[in-house]
Amino acid sequence: MSFQRVAAIFRKELRHIARDPRSLGLALVQPLVMLLLFGSALSLDVDRISTMVYDADQTSASRELIRQFQGSRYFEIEGFVGNTKALERAIDQNKILVGLVVPRDYAKRVAAGQNANFQILLDGSDSNTASIAMSYVNSLVQGFGNHLRADALSRHAGRTLPLPIDFQVRIWYNSSLESKNFVVPGLVAVILVVIAGMLASLTVAREWEMGTMEQLLSTPVRPAELVLAKMLGFFAVGVVDTAIAVLVGIFVFDVPFRGSLVLLAVTSCLFLCGVFFWGILISALAKTQLVAYQMGVATTFLPSFLLSGFIYSLDSMPTVVQGISHFIPARYFVTILRGIFLKGVGVEVLWGNIALLTAFMIGVFLLATWRLSQKLA
């Protein structure tokens, strides 16, 4: 390997990048825009659940029950209707998520100490929101029901009765359970993979289409040098992107940063190198830009978005899919990012992920080099 040759091609690559300010601008501005937009818009928090009430009872007892919903920050009462049909129609039209039906004899049954039922109509099409909404309804009603029951019993007994289990849930690392703390670090990985993978695969595919890649290969440059030099050219852009993304995460979104900045820098470099090598490999396989784009989307954007644990927890996936996810570098990088940002853990915990990220990078580098030397032969 000759560093002179690597440096020569590296200089050429930088000139290419500088000569196309529009692509460079896209590569720098796009991550910023994506992070700002998605960081603020992508939220899985379930609050302000739109709710509509059909109160067939119209008593003070039923109104007290409804007040529980009105007082909760998780529910927003959109209005009251006079029959179940209207609730059903509102669900059909996507106006509400939850319909609450208080039956006619509710107050009578509560007063008589009998079991009182009331009904929840739930739009289950978005199963995640629906199951969180359901757990809110359950815990709200359970709390209120226990309170009613204890009240009634206390009245009988003449003194307060205990409610014995004191169940405390403590949320670590993200105590306010804000989605942004969860989404933004993962988003950094996804954005980098998209920008890096696409940039590398498209640019190099273009050179294959133009035939300049073959010309380069026919010079004394060896495949390994070529792959390395191409990567370094993109790397300069990738480092700036990473810095922008991390700074925006910390200063704009106030995501806690509890770990080591050095570790973050080192792991980001490993990750970027791996992704750029991957882009070069794709372009060598695809040869045309259209195919490179398709392969890029299929092998970088989608898996990093879906199979990295960015949003969808890997534990809920079938075993086969979990196995596939081990080949996705973003999986390791998302874990590392969350570890550094939220948990503040260091190498002692993350070494496994770092090792696999390194292995991926080296593996793809060798593959890309091998592929290029195949082309040469």
């Binding site: 896209l26 937009l37 998605f38 603020s40 818009a41 992508l42 899985l44 059909d92 996507n94 079991n115 039922n117 009904q119 929840i120 109509l121 739930l122 289950g124 099409s125 199963s127 995640n128 629906a130 199951s131 969180i132 757990s135 309804v137 359950n138 815990s139 029901g145 226990n146 009634a152 019993l153 009988h156 007994a157 205990p162 409610l163 289990i165 169940f167 849930v169 949320i171 670590w172 690392y173 993200n174 359970l177 969860f182 498209l202 273009r206 695809a286 040869k287 830009q289 259209l290 195919v291 398709q294 989307v297 299929a298 199979l307 927890s313 534990d315 809920s316 899919v321 874990t335 570890g339």
Partner: protein, 386 residues
């Protein structure tokens, strides 16, 4: 005129389907996406790894453990002995949560004093964390309710035995929630996500194919050659967009067939309505593709630009992240996103079986979008040709 259009359409198909790689690039991603979304995309939490830290070791604490083990959602994977061990489990991500039964739990329960149970949840995935704490609260409540009832009953009896009048009544109301879940009674994420894939596929394929078909000619210099032939701009546009529309429809057919046959997604609406909405949607995407081609000179620029528009459109369509959770300004912004309407339509037709009576707003919005987009880009396109 039709003959000339047919010629271009034929040429486009030949170019597109000529080599194996291009053929794969057009038909593999939809199927791949369908399977990934169908099998992998899942926000349900049904495999909770939990650490159990029992500092009490009484029959009561063991019966609480049995309550968790009885739920198919929970898997006890570690038995930490100390706080450090528990912290390590959460730090490494080995467990999602650690349940700590505080010392004196069993005794406190017996005496009717508040008994302490603490749960440490890894909140780095806020969605999983809130589902886990919801489920755990239900299990603890289910464990506690009979004990509470018994104790309250005992207490009332002792009060009654001590001769306090009027306390023999043990009647107390209990509230039951009857939940009726509509449209997706099993609450499977899959039923929600798979129909959305159709929207995404049609958009990606048709925008990209249209933009690339035009830009390729420009990049390779064959555009000038086409210009000197008797082809008129309208014919050129139709010739370039019709193949993309056709492939979009075929891809949609593939995805719908897969959704119904492989994933057994319920389809409750009308297939004709779905088809007509797809055609409405195609106006918008083909128009967008043409627009991309007018602002790009190279295929790379066209792809970067279309990716830059496609990603936000996809993310802000309500596909994965509910629109109602977004900041209000962004919510208004999503009204400018044609994907949003089509997403609502597709989900409505698949899961809710809604018809034109409910969906006409969205259809109207898509029609307006489509006509504006197509007219605007066709005009721009002609100007660029002159």
């Amino acid at each position: 005129m039709w003959e000339r259009i047919a010629q271009i359409v034929r040429k486009e198909f030949v170019q597109l389907l000529r080599d194996r790689r291009r053929r794969l690039a057009v038909f593999v991603p939809p199927v791949l996406q369908l399977f990934v979304f169908g099998y992998a995309v899942n926000l349900d939490v049904d495999n909770i790894r939990m650490g159990w830290m029992d500092e009490d070791h009484t029959p009561a604490s063991r019966s609480l453990l049995a309550g968790f083990e009885g739920s198919p959602r929970y898997h006890i994977v570690a038995l930490p002995k100390s706080d450090q061990e528990a912290q390590g489990l959460l730090d490494r991500g080995d467990t999602h949560a650690v349940l700590r039964v505080l010392p004196g739990f069993g005794e406190a329960l017996e005496r009717g004093r508040p008994a302490g149970v603490q749960m440490l949840v890894d909140g780095s995935n806020s969605n999983t964390a809130s589902l886990i704490s919801g489920y755990s609260q239900q299990i603890v409540a289910a464990f506690a309710t009979p004990i509470v009832r018994k104790q309250q009953g005992n207490l009332l009896l002792t009060i009654a035995a001590s001769g306090n009048p009027g306390t023999t009544s043990m009647k107390a109301p209990r509230l039951n929630v009857e939940t009726r879940v509509w449209f997706n009674a099993d609450m499977l994420s899959r039923n929600y996500f798979v129909p959305g894939v159709i929207v995404n596929i049609i958009m990606l394929i048709t925008v990209m194919l249209t933009a690339m078909a035009v830009v390729r000619e420009r990049e390779l210099g064959t555009m000038e050659q086409l210009m000197v032939t008797p082809i008129r701009p309208v014919e050129f546009i139709l010739g370039k967009t019709l193949p993309a529309a056709f492939i979009g429809l075929v891809d949609m057919g593939l995805v719908v067939a897969g959704a119904l046959l492989v994933f057994k997604i319920p389809f409750r609406g009308s297939i004709f309505l779905l088809l007509s909405c797809v055609i409405l949607f195609l106006f918008t995407t083909l128009g967008a593709g043409l627009l991309m081609s007018t602002i790009s000179n190279t295929q790379q620029q066209a792809m970067m630009t279309s990716f830059m528009f496609a990603t936000p459109a996809f993310m802000l369509s309500g596909f994965a992240f509910p629109i109602r959770n977004m900041p209000v300004a962004v919510q208004y912004f999503t009204y400018l996103n044609p994907l949003r309407y089509f997403m609502e339509i597709v989900r409505g037709i698949f899961l809710k079986g809604t018809g034109v009576d409910v969906l006409w707003h969205q259809m109207l919005a898509m029609l307006i979008f489509g006509v504006c987009m197509l007219t605007f880009s066709a005009l721009r396109f002609r100007k660029r040709l002159d």
